[in-house]
Amino acid sequence: MAMSLPFLGYGLGLRNEYYEQILEQSPAVDWFEVISENYLVQGGKALYYLDAIAERYPLVMHGVSLSIGGPHALDTDYLKQIRQLAERIQPAWVSDHLCWSRGSAHQLHDLLPLPYTEESLYHVAARVRQVQDVLERPLVLENVSSYVRSKADEFTEWEFLNALAHLSGCQLLLDVNNVYVSSRNHGFDAWTFIRNLPPQSIRQLHLAGHMDYGDYVVDTHDHPVCDPVWDLYQQTLEHLGPVSTLLERDDHFPPFEELLTELSKARELGAMALARRSLCA
């Protein structure tokens, strides 16, 4: 059950804009998620603050360039560095995305969608096992937002995630905003997606904002969370029980206090959802 996984509470993404404030004010944030690649360096300010913050808060490592579904061989040097960073800061878990971000020859630095086919499934599952062997821990994979899908799809995205978790033992980072964005873009029901994921595999949730262009939605991570995503989040927690929740903001950084206020909102809505869950149990 989801409850048997550690519940870290409500966290924020660690961004250099906020390092000093975090150390000076010890804000009421339960944990921080760090972008792994930002700390795969040999020295300097980022590592200095990372070490200091790791002494005070639980951390989770979130990568963006594993390219688990890519057409290339896995980058063993990168994996080794991820492992070393994990040894250094002892994160509660290590995550990346169910996507590919590197092509045949070049790094593409985007979270590109995979066709949900049997071929992709076996390709990704084998690579997840390879990564887990190096990291010696389960890999946590996040669903991404997408803007096209392949005609060759043999599964829905949630069926694919189920099968992948089953085949590889990976766990899931459910980004509620990404589900919402993709549901609008592809015309599926967001709750059907979430309801059909394996609850016992869901280790973490993401909340974020997006840009709504009317006909489509773009996952920009530079806005506050919107109401339909808050609703979906509450429904998700009511269904799953407590799951560590992270509020993501990757651009247009507001004053730290604004993020804390938004995090309090997650906390309150989360508490209400969990209370409803216990009443109905």
Binding site: G44, H106, S150
Partner: protein, 262 residues
């Protein structure tokens, strides 16, 4: 279509100059109720190029200040088309930008601009270089008198040396201050600008030829402190030891030096 072929076609789409994909690849895709395939592909295409340009805008803000938004956008787009990213970390995206500027622009514009790009890149290198063990004034104070003549040093790992044939540092400074740009001018004599990190803050300083020679003698040629004094005696006569100590103290205070194992 096999997975790898499909990914190759997707990659081709991102790398191509136009946001419109070739029809063969587009035909393998589905849109949604109100999002057609071409718009979806254009979203990926725009996101690819603008993410890379954002990184370069951040790492080369003085070049951006010099060129303005439009020219900078054109130059950086040409750069990432010519040299797509080869490292998993965007931190290394700009590594070949100074070289590209020389290749891409006419020499008159390219040479000073490439020098400015090299200076900005030096800051990124200093920023996250290994810490090393820079000598401190405290270390120097506890050095026994008999160890002074044989003292040998190297540069701390974060120290970058940028060879300046133009008034690049003044141009860089103007961009940071958002003040009026000085005209690009050749320098005579040339300068070395050092860029380094000390206590987690990046610093820079231009060196005059005499100080460059003294520093290079110590860190590159491997002079002992006594040899530095001897070399300086040619110019400074009996003032040589004082000049040597003055420079050495400055270098140590700045965090530029590590002790070379005897």
């Amino acid at each position: 279509m096999r997975l790898t072929d499909w990914q190759l076609a997707f990659e081709q789409h991102l790398l191509s100059e136009t946001p419109v994909a070739n029809s063969g690849f587009a035909a393998t895709l589905l849109g949604g109720p109100t999002l057609d395939v071409d718009t979806g592909l254009a979203i990926y295409h725009n996101a690819y190029i603008s993410r890379l340009q954002d990184v370069l805008r951040h790492d080369f803000s003085a070049i951006l200040y010099w060129l303005g938004d439009d020219e900078f956008a054109a130059l950086t787009e040409a750069y990432v088309r010519r040299y797509p990213s080869a490292h998993y970390s965007l931190r290394w995206l700009g590594e070949r930008f100074p070289t590209f500027i020389l290749e891409h622009l006419v020499a008159e514009q390219g040479v000073p601009l490439a020098e400015l790009a090299r200076l900005e890149w030096a800051f990124t290198l200093a920023f996250d270089a290994p810490q090393g063990e820079p000598l401190t004034l405290h270390d120097m104070a506890s050095l026994a008198p008999e160890d002074w003549p044989g003292l040998q040093v190297t540069l701390a790992p974060s120290v970058q040396q940028v060879f300046c044939r133009f008034n690049t540092v003044a141009i860089w400074r103007a961009s940071k201050d958002e003040s009026d740009f000085p005209h690009s001018q050749a320098l005579d004599p040339v300068q070395i600008c050092l860029v380094w990190r000390h206590q987690n803050v990046c610093h820079y300083r231009s060196l005059e030829p005499a100080e460059i020679c003294a520093l290079a003698g110590m860190v590159t040629t491997g002079w002992r402190f006594s040899e530095l004094c001897a070399e300086l005696a040619v110019t400074y006569a009996e003032g040589a030891p004082l000049q040597a100590v003055t420079w050495l103290k400055q270098w140590v205070q700045d965090g530029l030096l590590e002790r070379r194992a005897p």
